[in-house]
Symmetry: none
């Protein structure tokens, strides 16, 4: 078995040069700063980003041909975490425990990372990675819901996509006023209780 041949050239786009990776990281950091940024604009202006990151515009475009691609790249880590949490919850046999936690975590993640909020709210993903993660998110949530539904803990008429949308709504509700920490627990509570089967 030639375990030591230089690289696995299997359609894997080749390991990025280290300097390119560094640039990419700097760009992502700058973009995150900008997105959360003090202007509050939430915009992802490519030129501004280049300036902020101290690179030429072309470099931004080389790494992220589209703002959408950039956005998804920004959100992908948080999304991965979230998916991992969902899949962990899937493994849990006991009904009821997981969902509350997931909602709380998802809300917190959206508030922390606006890019995640944007990705969750966007109708469709551009990057294959993101799309795959969103699929896993849905599948995992559906599994959790199914389990809890079977235990009579969740309404019949709510599926994973409803949960995703309600999560977007939660983030918005929290964002629509002053105070970010205090209300979010209550709002999650409201939705959680609302997800139970009608008495």
């Amino acid at each position: 078995m030639p375990e030591d041949r230089p690289a696995a050239p299997l359609a894997r786009p080749r390991p990025p040069r280290p300097d390119a990776a560094a640039t990419r990281a700097r760009l992502l950091a700058a973009a995150a700063r900008q997105l959360a940024g003090p202007g509050g604009s939430g915009g992802l202006a490519m030129n501004a980003l280049a300036r902020e990151a101290g690179v030429g515009v072309g470099t931004v475009y080389r790494h992220f041909p589209t703002q959408q691609v950039l956005l998804e790249a920004l959100g992908v880590d948080a999304l991965e975490d979230l998916v991992a949490a969902v899949e962990r919850a899937t493994g849990d046999e006991r009904p009821g425990g997981g969902l509350a936690d997931l909602l709380r975590r998802a809300l917190r993640a959206q508030l922390t990372d606006p890019a995640l909020a944007a990705v969750l709210a966007a109708p469709t993903a551009t990057c294959a990675d993101t799309a795959a993660l969103l699929d896993r998110l849905r599948a995992g949530l559906d599994a959790v819901l199914e389990r809890d539904r079977a235990a009579g803990l969740v309404r019949e008429d709510v599926d994973a996509d409803d949960v995703r949308r309600l999560l977007c709504g939660l983030a918005r509700a929290v964002g629509a006023g002053p105070g970010r920490a205090s209300p979010s627990a209550r709002y999650v509570d409201v939705v959680l209780q609302g997800l139970r089967p009608a008495p």
Copy 2:
């Protein structure tokens, strides 16, 4: 006849000339068209608005010095309707009935009129009118909540502003996916049930 009175009675903004009123109406109509308009841009480009309404840009600025003012002017009618509904519900002695209706109505109004959604979500109103309406909205909602809370129908820890924010969240949830009619009833249901006191 006081033909020579130098100015209008103080602070009362002289009744607008009929043609100015017509212009204003045309502007609002054009703006509404644009906001809902095709392209889904949702933007309120002043120049485009002027063109669409058949006036000069300057005229737009004369009527609406700020985009925020324009936005509030656009949303004010729907907001008035909503406030009226809330105040009607206030008059109703029977607990429990009004809130569901109000939520449904408010959600529908937001989906119909993006300007209302924006006004409800905005932290602060610029125009005195809007601010007053928002105050009345809060007062009315608080009254309704208080009544229902007293009847044990609503959680203790939710006030009018929470309801406003949750309404914004509802609009977002509906907007974050395909299908606008079907899910909205369910989502309102979820929130309504979630607003009840924990069992």
Copy 3:
């Protein structure tokens, strides 16, 4: 007869303000300079034009929404002159005289004014004015050709559009080498002689 009413509002886009007219003129002058310009680029960069003319970019776009519109505006005077000459030639009964003159004049005009060359070479006009002039050009040339053809002075198989295209070719031939004055007379000669019926 109310001869003195302020203006004839007949779908005429209203007399431009004098200052706007001046700006427009400055823009056209700058554009002509640029087109002939030392960079030899022949480009019509809107930003560069704005800089050269000392106005903001927006102003350029206000006057000329498209580079094509600008180009046609640049060439329209020369085109009008040419059309006038053609139509004058049309009035001339004597066969044979006019065509030589027209070709010479058209070539000279193209060499003087690159915008005219571009307009003549372009497949289609964007502005109604230009299109109308091109139509008149064709009609006039066809009349001249018909007259001369009837007198046995011009080949049967050549029409106005062929003449237009050959004129573009002449301009190119002159431009494809050093010396602009001397060869052009000869080249026109060649084409003129070539347009006669084969012996």
Copy 4:
């Protein structure tokens, strides 16, 4: 075995490595595709070219330090063919026959290969090869013209460079309208007849 010879024989550009030759060929093919390519841009964007050819940009620059060099490299084959045809015509003793054929062929070649058109129209060649070919073209054409002039078949005042320029003009005339096949024969005819001595 001279394993240690420091460099290739002076000024003779060492026979290219076979893989380099292949790369070069791929680049030329890709460039030709681009130049004729859809979008009709006719541009020779180096980056796009590299992508299309599946090499890095650097490689493009290694092979063709300038766009001009690339252009000449692209056109050189067609130019060689043309020169060969001219020199064959030179060998022909009979006056009159060759020129018509050469013009037709040259026009066709330009329409087929935009790079040839560009090279013929360009004031000066950058590459020695191209320059040499252009010299041979001129010499050959002059020989043909001289022969035909002696036979009274060609005007006195036209030389090889005029023919080159008229050829550029022909290509332009053909290109300045719809229909590429039909008019070109006629246009060549016009020029051919125009090149005869005035009657």
